[in-house]
Symmetry: C2
Subunit: 156 residues, 2 copies
DNA sequence: AGCCATTGTGCAAGTTGTTGCAATTGCAAT
DNA sequence: ATTGCAATTGCAACAACTTGCACAATGGCT
C-alpha cells in the first residue's frame, strides 16, 4: 500500500506534489505486470476513489512521461499503453496482420542512436518503440493475398 | 486537372473505385509539395466540392495507406501528416523542445530492418518514421534546465 | 435499359486524448 | 490560525479520428 518511495519521491524532488490521486495512479502502474492503458488505470483508481476524473489520469501520465519515469507505446490497439521505464529498456515488433507483438532488445537500436548523434548531433529518445510490419507467420499469407489480387486481372 | 494515371489507376486495378472525391483527394496530395494533413486536404477539396465529408477524406487516406501509396507520420503537431510514398523513402528527426524537424536518409534504418528480419523473421514496414529527441541546438539548453532543477535542493 | 450485388458517401454518434476555467488543495510565510 | 500563491483537480467543451447505418453510385449481367 505504501507508495514505492523512489518514484513518488522523485516527483516531489522535482517540485511536484504527490497527491492521493497521483499515489493511486503510481501504485497501479507499479503493480501492473504489463503495459497498462489510461482507461485501465482509471477503472482501477475508481475502485478506491470513485470521483477521479480521467483527465487527471491523463495529466499524471503526461507528467510521468515528461520526467521519463514511464514510457508510452502504441501497440496498434487504438489507444496507448504505458510502462515503468525503470523496468528495463526494450521495444516491440507489432504484426499488422495478426496483431501479435514481440519484444526486442534495446541493443538493436543502439547503432542507429549513435549514428543519429554522430551524423546529425541529434539525441534520440529511444525509450519504447513499436515497429509495425509482418511477423514470420503472417508474411506468406500476405504474399498469397497480393498474388490473388494480381490474378484478378484476367481471372474471375 | 487530369488525375495522374499511375496512382488513380493502381486504385482501380486493386478493385477499388476511382470516385470524384478520391480523384480530388489524390490530386491535392499529388500537388502538395510537402506533408499534408487531413484537415488541409478537406479544406482544399471543399473549394471544388463543398459537400465532401471529413470522414471520406480519412477513409480515403486509410485506403491509400493500406495500399502503400501514401505514408503517414506524426511530427508532434497533434495530428498526422501524409505524403506520397513514391516521392522517395526518408524519415524525420523531431526536436521535442523546439519542434523543428529534419529529414534523414532511409539508409540509416536499413541495418535495423535487416537485423529484425534475420533475428526475428520480422518484415518491418519502414516507410516514414519520425524519431523524437533533442536537436543539436536544444541539447545544451535542456541540460542547463536539468541542472537548475537539481540546484533547487539546497538553493532558492 | 433494367436489375442486383457491391462499394462508397454523408451524417451523426462514438472514442481517445487535450484544454480552459473555476474551485480546491498544499505549502510556506506571516 | 490566517493569508497568499502556485499547483492540482474536476468538469465540460473541444479536437482528431473512427464507425454504424441508411442511402446513393457503380459496374456487371441480362
Ligand atoms: Mn514494453
Ligand atoms: Mn516526410
Ligand atoms: Zn502476424
Ligand atoms: Zn531543438
Amino acid at each position: 500500500m505504501a507508495t514505492h518511495p523512489t518514484i513518488g519521491e522523485s516527483l516531489r524532488q522535482e517540485g511536484y506534489r504527490l497527491t492521493p490521486q497521483r499515489m493511486m495512479i503510481l501504485a497501479i502502474i507499479r503493480d501492473s505486470s504489463d503495459h497498462i492503458s489510461a482507461e485501465e488505470i482509471h477503472q482501477k483508481v475508481r475502485q478506491q476513489y470513485p470521483f477521479v476524473n480521467i483527465s487527471t489520469v491523463y495529466r499524471t501520465l503526461n507528467l510521468l512521461k515528461k520526467l521519463r519515469l514511464i514510457s508510452e507505446t502504441d501497440l496498434g490497439e487504438g489507444y496507448v499503453r504505458y510502462e515503468l521505464l525503470e523496468r528495463g529498456r526494450h521495444h516491440h515488433l507489432v504484426c499488422r496482420r495478426c496483431g501479435e507483438s514481440f519484444a526486442f532488445e534495446h541493443e538493436l537500436l543502439r547503432p542507429l542512436q549513435l549514428r543519429l548523434l554522430k551524423e546529425y548531433g541529434f539525441t534520440a529518445d529511444v525509450d519504447h518503440f513499436a515497429i509495425f510490419g509482418l511477423c514470420q507467420r503472417c508474411r506468406p499469407a500476405e504474399e498469397m493475398n497480393d498474388v490473388r489480387k494480381e490474378g484478378q486481372h484476367g481471372a474471375a
